[in-house]
Symmetry: C2
Subunit: 276 residues, 2 copies
């Protein structure tokens, strides 16, 4: 059985240097335009915590700050449990690459909260939008874009897809789509973290023009335990993303991911740099 | 002229120990139930970055993780610029208190992104909700609650206020209210960060019952520059907060803050622990 490309991309080796220090390498399968797909970088940060021997519980919150694009090649990850309470644990993570003169190059900082959940009253105030049957929606095809990571996901937008014409006309910035791995892989926390970042920059949709844009920081909250992930399995997720405020070089976008049955598994927000 | 209580609460002294190391003390004016109001803690983390001699630009994103409640008294803040790019800067912040045996007690971690903004195309996809005139809405009065920080803000909820009866009936978790400092103070980034956290736990509104609850992590994005802050001045903000998913001990709440004229100044999300 060959390893799924996502598992290859987030594979980490625990080093002997210190507890929570891992090494890995960027994956050509998830290459974006000037660095790896941010979703895999977020997943790697989370993975370092999930692989840490002192881990308590499951992920609740993940914030990843993209300080600089990773270069193709090896990287180091350091996950540190800065505080362990009775049922929650707070983590910091840093991803670095070897820099000129042996000085490590800080590419990514992250914070993670994990917790031992207990069963409680639960409810939702964010119902899944109405949606057509996934199979009835055409799969997004970008053609030979040269952007490798796009081929890793099957995206079926039924609202707010890629603009048919890049004519600088104005549109609302919301996309709704069915989404799953192009090559089947059961959902887990790392893939959920990555899929929270699959929505292309809202400013492109809003303005029907591709200005330079890149995520600066993303925060994802997880609303699932092992049972909810298992229920989602290899099925579709319904993903929704919308821009909120576009102001002088930065906009934020809010994203929601439900499983096919309508359970909200993750809510995510990011702030994105744009030029012009 | 006496110092505004908020300025007292977030006052920091730059120490001689190292660059970016500050000392401060918790303020009884902003005491919550088992520690300081989280909004002031968030503002203190931001303030340490804004006071740092190497600061580039203005705040874009702030994530604050509440690892442990601060105890009443002195604390240390360390702000570190981990990466400075041409127009963006990435920060980590830690707030500690002296612990038993001289080991510092980690209470708070934060990450901040600052940037030198440039004027660009700007727009909003999150219009301000319709609202009555602020003066026509009754000010929230909790009575002698013993929760000091509540007296620091003038809150005028016109939708989703404090439940009239704590009868465990179910409601939607959205609140809309006019909001400003009880004692006039012109809006700045620190007060905007604090005001992003004034909304009481959505689970109380949702269930009309006060289960134990506390914010674990908050992320705020700023959509304002000095001109937008000045325009807001000492006027009201319109604040909106809504719960999204309540699941096994944690729920997230999304918040939006507009100025009186309808400009969205900040979007904020937090994940909150709740019991039962």
């Amino acid at each position: 059985m060959s390893t799924h490309p996502f598992d290859k991309a987030i594979a980490l080796e625990h080093s002997d240097i210190r507890v929570g220090h891992f090494t890995g390498a960027t994956s050509p399968d998830y290459w974006n335009m000037v660095g790896p797909f941010g979703g895999t970088t977020a997943a790697i940060a989370l993975q370092s915590v999930l692989r840490h021997p002192d881990l308590l519980g499951t992920p609740i919150a993940l914030t990843v700050n993209f300080a600089a694009a990773l270069e193709a090649g090896a990287f180091d990850v350091q996950a540190t449990a800065v505080r362990t309470n009775r049922s929650t644990q707070h983590w910091t993570v840093q991803i670095t690459q070897a820099g000129a003169g042996g000085v490590p190059n800080m590419t990514t900082t992250a914070t993670v909260v994990t917790a031992a959940r207990r069963e409680t009253w639960s409810a939702s105030d964010m119902p899944m939008p109405e949606a057509p049957n996934p199979e009835s929606v055409e799969r997004l095809s970008i053609g030979p874009s040269g952007v490798a990571w796009l081929d890793r996901y099957e995206m079926r937008p039924f609202s707010g897809g890629i603009p048919a014409k890049w004519d600088e006309s104005l549109h609302h910035s919301e996309t709704r789509m069915w989404l799953r791995e192009a090559q089947q892989r059961p959902l887990d926390f790392c893939s959920l973290a990555a899929m929270s970042d699959v929505f292309y920059p809202r400013v492109w949709l809003r303005r029907a023009t591709r200005v330079p844009a890149g995520t600066v920081s993303i925060t994802t909250y997880f609303h699932a335990g092992p049972a909810q992930l298992a229920e989602a399995g290899t099925g579709y997720l319904l993903g929704r993303a919308v821009g909120q405020q576009f102001f002088n070089g930065f906009f934020d976008q809010a994203a929601h991911l439900w499983n096919e049955k309508g359970t909200l598994l993750a809510t995510s927000n990011q702030i994105v740099y744009y030029k012009e």
